[in-house]
Subunit: 361 residues, 2 copies
């Protein structure tokens, strides 16, 4: 059985502050806390930026239509790891950005786009749980979730327009289109056991990694760094995002519900053809294959089938295969950062790549 993921420490050591005339500066987070995971370390590197980003998120999701901030608060303010905006902030700082609050506002855009896709995902997947709480669609209904998702998406673009960089707009509008393409491709491959691993990779590059890549690239763009650094950060984000989603797909068959914060087995019940399923199908004997065809292709499932699916995953090494792939992509993410000089922040970004994989092992 997989050990539960470490919980993020609730109170981080309070960093020194320098918050003058709209310039947010994060001092090096020299102090390490025993047992702290790498994401917490990275977040602490940009803790003041993140405080400003959270304030921007709350301020900009407001609307005279009260249901919008209510529903948005349910999902945005409920927390989550804020991994994507942290990546934008850390990427900007890694590139030496010190030009004001552009990175903060764009990190908020990234989180809005992410939140909009979560709202629509939960409607599409008919999910009942999100981050351990009832999902927005379960509380407010599908209609409100679709429409508030649209609002957050539009608001993200308004924020980007206010920022004024056409390069940033190009990167994030392309990411938004790619996310939707990935989600549609996922819908098309649902229940289809002939899906290839390449096609599965196209799905997760689109639905997850494209926004990770854009979030990181935007950091280099606001810092006005040369193209190779933007490309390096984009690649880092892409590889990190792929690793992240591979682990997420493994967790759907290998975590306990309290740790996962969403319903275990959701992917299985929806007939999503993820790498764990493809690997298990490939490694099963004829009896096992018949099981997968019945449960995934024909959507005929009984209560006991999830346990049997998890047993077959263990037997065929499907989870191990998936996590090995994730580890390889995490390794590529770390290598992408070689272009930058060694620093605590670079180490923290590399650490997050390892953390993404280790959280399940």
């Amino acid at each position: 059985m997989v050990p539960p993921r470490k919980r993020r420490a609730k109170t981080a050591i309070h960093p020194r502050r320098e918050f003058i005339l709209g310039i947010v500066s994060n001092l090096p987070a020299e102090i390490t806390v025993p047992g702290e995971d790498a994401l917490t370390v990275l977040t602490r590197h940009v803790s003041l930026d993140m405080t400003a980003c959270n304030a921007a998120i709350l301020a900009r999701m407001d609307s005279p239509v009260a249901l919008i901030p209510q529903l948005a608060a349910h999902i945005v303010a409920a927390g989550g790891k804020r991994l994507r905006p942290v990546l934008t902030l850390a990427s900007a700082r890694l590139c030496g950005y010190a030009g004001g609050l552009r990175h903060v506002n764009l990190a908020a855009c990234v989180e809005f786009i992410h939140t909009a896709t979560l709202l629509h995902d939960d409607v599409v997947d008919e999910s009942q749980l999100r981050r351990g709480l009832a999902s927005a669609n379960a509380v407010f209904g599908n209609k409100a979730s679709v429409l508030v998702g649209d609002f957050l998406f539009a608001r993200a673009f308004q924020l980007m327009v206010a920022d004024g960089s056409l390069d940033v707009l190009r990167i994030l509008s392309a990411a938004a289109a790619t996310i939707a393409e990935g989600e549609v491709l996922q819908l098309v491959t649902q229940n289809d056991l002939t899906t290839t691993e390449d096609r599965y990779l196209d799905v997760i590059k689109g639905k997850t990694a494209a926004l990770f890549a854009a979030a990181c690239e935007v950091g280099a763009v606001v810092a006005d760094r040369p193209e190779p650094e933007a490309v390096a950060l984009r690649n880092y984000g892409m590889h990190l995002g792929i690793a992240f989603q591979l682990v997420d797909d493994a967790l759907d068959y290998a975590a306990d519900q309290a740790t996962l914060g969403k319903t275990v087995g959701d992917d299985f019940r929806e007939g999503k053809v993820t790498l764990p399923v493809l690997a298990a199908y490939a490694g099963s004997d004829e009896t096992g294959r018949a099981f997968w065809r019945r449960t995934i292709e024909d959507s005929e499932q009984t209560e006991a089938d999830l346990d049997e699916a998890m047993r077959l995953m263990a037997e065929t090494g499907a989870i191990r295969i998936t996590l090995d792939r994730a580890a390889a992509f995490a390794g590529r993410a770390k290598a992408d950062l070689a272009i930058f000089p060694d620093s605590d922040l670079r180490s923290a970004l590399m650490g997050v790549a390892d953390y993404t994989v280790s959280r399940v092992r």
Copy 2:
């Protein structure tokens, strides 16, 4: 009974063409065709632009994920009046735009945003019919409709970014946010007979008129005209859009299904609190009010109730009141254009304001 709306002539007189080096020019549509409605006349004024716009729409909704163009084609290529892109094209020409194809590409953006909202609307409203055909959600399912709507919305922003005007981006991203606000407000006022007429106006300004206003304003912006002309076109679009939606809301109780191209009585069944309902409720006696409370507030409806609703609308003059309001807004739309010198094109735009109301009388 309301006479059926005139159908748009299938083949318009072929205008002379001047299509050189990417410059599209529409020659004056001097020739009038007896019995032609004003929207057809306006569309003929920009017929070459519209041909180019339709080509841009088809080209830019493409994706390697085949379901996206398939579903988009179902709703985009199925036609519709293309009123919003026609407004962008005509506004640009009214402002003397002759700078290339920017207006064509932005008209395509406007149609994409509109199409995205239609896809999401039909999911939210659980509509089965759209433009006389099965709605996309009825054919492809809610999930695909939500996600392809997201794709078209993102693609619209990619097109705008390619255009490169931050003013245009500002106008259309604000419109997109306002549309979502209007839709959420509509959801909030559903089944609520205490909704005021002002609040109802906020709903239709948001969900419909904001995009009309933006579509027209963008025409002035690409032509680089001074602020007063942009404001005049924006106001024209806003007032036209309000008139348009008021008539649409009347038609939901006053049209026959074949003419309407959507299911008659949809608003009634969904408990949407539109002006016809508010006017009928205000003008009904206690028995009538009890009927509206049961059917709209409590959502308790029987088969015969739609006929009774339509009878009460006639008895209380609710449809007439709604159409009078629409006529007043159409009058304001026409007056907004007074700032422009008299021309055939200006007359055609004014004609569309009248047409918007007359299509139901």
